[in-house]
């Protein structure tokens, strides 16, 4: 009687663990969300180290051969790593061919994650992400 009850309990728990593993496998087998065009985005932040307040982010956009991509439409959204903060949005302007500049006001110290929305001329838009870690208090 006791063994039977335990066997059922263990069987039930095993089913749950199997379900969890399935979830893990399903998640691992997800297809990539998008086929990304071959482009490279690098960023520089000044001043260094970044502090709360005004920072300048310079983005360099190149294709797979290293050739600057010009006349792309870029915009930036910034998020703190912790939930509960409103994201910041900033516009980006092309300062020289393939080089884009954004002036951003960082409202809080900590880690920031930025999503760059890139509208390539004549192509679909793609997103790229970069982080500014360890922004110091003002």
């Amino acid at each position: 009687m006791q063994l039977c009850a335990e066997a059922r309990a263990v069987a039930g728990s095993s089913c749950l663990i199997a379900l969890c593993l399935c979830l893990l496998v399903v998640q691992g087998c997800r297809p990539a969300r998008e086929t990304l065009p071959a482009l490279k985005l690098t960023h520089e932040v000044s001043p260094q180290p970044p502090r709360v307040g005004h920072v300048r982010v310079t983005l360099k956009l190149t294709d797979s051969s290293g050739k600057p991509i010009t006349r792309a439409g870029l915009s930036i959204e910034g998020y703190m790593s912790h939930p509960g903060m409103k994201p910041i949005a900033a516009s980006v302007a092309e300062s020289e061919p393939g080089s884009y500049v954004s002036e951003i006001d960082l409202a809080m110290a900590g880690d920031w994650v930025f999503i760059v929305h890139i509208q390539l001329p004549g192509q679909v838009s793609v997103d790229r992400q970069f982080e500014i870690k360890g922004v110091l208090p003002a």
Partner: protein, 479 residues
């Protein structure tokens, strides 16, 4: 004098179960299930979004709901009412469903029938929160929720009664300690009625008259016998006792918050607090863990981590973090409480052994610890309150409308300080009551000693909350 609620005529107290609508709802047989279902559905949504949704914490339901709204709502409900989150616990919904198929016959091992194991899990949870940066990881947060469901199901499928709630669940232990400061408790309305009761259904449950082996209503699964139950520790507000009592003599009754800490009777299902080293340790970790958790959010933690890494030559985060945990959760409490217990003996004139003094007076810290948790969680909750709207909109496939995220941080900081002071006031009153209730020569000196301990912790909390907050994952060598 600060006295517990036990008066001769409890019917004069406020009783939530007698309030129209709310009371009627809570007294329904399936009230708990009704409250659990929405939280269960939300939990499933959080798991799915955490695993498959955007992996940016502020955009994800798992991280936003868990680390902002759930935690915040939890502490406010504990402050204003009682342990209603355990009542609506979604993990127990799944477990109760499973119990329809599994009928465990084993008892939880005797040597584990205390708080040591759950205390270890509570510390592990605090550690994982910092080490894995859980607040910033939807994926880990989702797996944490899955782990809770699996843990509740596994433990309660093998072991009888509410083993998971009483001996395992770290959230439950947090709620039990915090609920000592709550204004409501599940308690008998009239002790005279219990004195004349012969069935004891509140603990035994109700059996089918024709087939006594068949239970038609559970009694308290946490071994809390209502007539001898004191306070909120170990009470999940499941209301099984309310359903089981044939005399309708159990209510959700008002009382003086934290007053249960001032007395030291034999408590049903718990024993005597002053002999429970495990419970005292839980209160200590609850209190100093509140400081540690808040410390993890401000600038000095990074300076300390980098200093430890530099001095020790260790660059991996795990041992550095373990050192800081040891500092906050072992060294600091040992020093503060050890010195206070020693002073209580030599200066206050008590003849009790030092450990006994330390155990008895550790409970003094519970209100202050709760005040610090309330301040910390309340800050995130209030400053990010409205982010629930755009995050939900985005999760449902709509366009998120990011407006003001919540109340202004400088306004919320006033509340933060207020909560800490409220906790301090509670701890001062509890220490005063305990000191003056003991048969000692100089109770005022004992009160002074423990008041200083509370003031030191308060000063630490206020100092932390005055620091500019930094929300970042730990990266040794940065900053």
């Amino acid at each position: 004098m600060f006295q517990p609620h036990r008066n001769s005529n409890p019917r004069n107290s406020f009783d939530l179960l007698r309030v129209p609508l709310v009371g009627t709802l809570l007294r329904q047989k399936h009230a708990r299930t009704l409250l659990q279902i929405p939280l269960f559905l939300i939990s499933i949504a959080m798991i799915l979004h955490g695993l498959f949704g955007p992996q940016l914490a502020p955009q994800n339901l798992a991280t936003t709901y868990t680390w902002l709204h759930f935690r915040g709502a939890l502490v406010f409900v504990l402050l204003l009412a009682g342990n209603f989150f355990c009542l609506a616990c979604p993990f127990m919904l799944v477990r109760n469903l499973a119990r329809k198929f599994f009928h465990p016959v084993r008892n939880w091992p005797r040597r584990l029938r205390n708080k040591w194991f759950s205390l270890g899990l509570f510390v592990t949870m605090l550690f994982l929160y910092e080490w894995l940066d859980l607040w910033a990881s939807p994926w880990w947060t989702a797996w944490l929720i899955v782990a809770y469901f699996a843990g509740a199901l596994l433990i309660d499928s093998v072991f009888k009664h509410a083993t998971f709630c009483k001996f395992v669940c770290p959230i439950g232990q947090f709620n039990f300690v915090a609920a000592t400061a709550s204004p409501l408790e599940v308690a008998v309305r009239d002790t005279a009625v219990c004195a004349g009761c012969s069935t004891k259904d509140c603990i035994r449950g109700v059996r089918e008259p024709a087939t006594p082996l068949v239970s038609i209503q559970r009694g308290c699964e946490l071994a809390l016998f209502q007539p001898r139950k004191v306070g909120n520790v170990d009470c999940t507000f499941c209301l099984d006792c309310v359903q089981a009592c044939p005399h309708d003599n159990v209510g959700i009754i008002s009382r003086v918050p934290a007053a249960e800490l001032t007395i030291d009777p034999m408590r049903s299902g718990l024993g005597i607090f002053s002999r429970r080293k495990d419970l005292a340790a839980l209160v200590i970790v609850f209190t100093f863990g509140a400081l540690l958790n808040a410390f993890g959010m401000v600038s000095p933690v990074y300076a300390l981590e980098n200093w430890v890494a530099r001095v020790s030559g260790v660059e991996r985060e795990f041992p550095v973090l373990a050192f800081i945990f040891g500092l906050f959760l072992v060294a600091e409490p040992l020093l503060l409480i050890g010195v206070a217990a020693w002073l209580t003996r030599i200066w206050g004139g008590t003849r009790k052994p030092m450990v006994a003094v330390a155990v008895r007076y550790s409970y003094v810290l519970a209100p202050l610890g709760f005040g610090i948790w309330l301040a910390h969680y309340g800050f995130h909750f209030l400053t990010g309150l409205y982010t629930i709207v755009p995050v939900t909109q985005a999760a449902l496939g709509g366009q998120p409308h990011w407006g003001t995220p919540g109340l202004a941080p400088n306004v919320v900081q006033i509340f933060e300080f207020g909560f800490v002071f409220l906790g301090l006031l509670g701890s001062l009153l509890v220490s005063y009551s305990i000191a003056f209730a003991e048969k000692v020569d100089r109770p005022s000196r004992i009160f002074a000693v423990w008041a200083i301990v509370a003031l030191i912790i308060t000063a630490g909390a206020l100092l932390l909350m005055s620091q500019p907050m930094e929300m970042r994952a730990v990266t040794l060598g940065v900053g």
